[in-house]
Symmetry: C2
Subunit: 159 residues, 2 copies
Amino acid sequence: MTQSEFKLDEAVAILERTPATLKAMLDGLPDIWTRAAEGEGTWSPYDVIGHLIHGERTDWIPRAQHILAADPRPFVPFNRTAQFTESRSQTLCQLLETFARLRTENVATLRGMNLIDSDFDRRGLHPELGEVTLRQLLATWVVHDLDHVGQIARTMAKA
Amino acid sequence: MTQSEFKLDEAVAILERTPATLKAMLDGLPDIWTRAAEGEGTWSPYDVIGHLIHGERTDWIPRAQHILAADPRPFVPFNRTAQFTESRSQTLCQLLETFARLRTENVATLRGMNLIDSDFDRRGLHPELGEVTLRQLLATWVVHDLDHVGQIARTMAKA
């Protein structure tokens, strides 16, 4: 998705579908599919859902709010392995429900921001990438969803 | 999926989920997502659903029946571009419904075969690959689903 083509409704169309996609794909599947990773240091579908939950809590919407607040400090760094400590006691079904609930809340928050065109050019400071626009942040959220759906399918195809 | 690990219930667990996964992912999405391909000669999500429908009609179950009938002739070659002529007049929603109906019927047919362990070693003649076992055919069906789910996610991530 190039920046100039970014449209909020098109982004939300993907974001709001991802929980149902993952539920249809994974809920009730035998562990042999959902707990398999691609190799040492890679993530199983179960791990990916935990990662997506952590993103809903700490990444996308908090960073959008950070940009809109014109906070000059860098974003809080994202913990890419939080799912290995945060959600280990939960079933996959529980994680899928948590993700769906958080995503619904976050899409409502996003819509409630009532963004106007010029807002998408507002910038924040990414701790690794430097300046990013709100448009880039939101486009990355969408691509991140699709990348992880693809990753899950690929991981299971190899299982 | 290695041959020795193939279990029918685990295969069916994926096969029966794919229509709902694709419906959750694609139904109602703007065309900008569903009609985009990765480049010249590649397939859009819309094209992929047409391809999956053609597979339900002419590939997996007909070939399994061919093997179980001990037919010594090669399988009828699969037409990889049938979706470009067969389903062009239909909406994506119609294609998703057709795929779901055919898949439900085919999973019921598969279960109705009441396969026993030795059946999975029975062989047929693939027109390009030579001898293939029923186990290989069914494992390929599952991986084919997952590959196309991953392809759709990847195509949309690039759109």
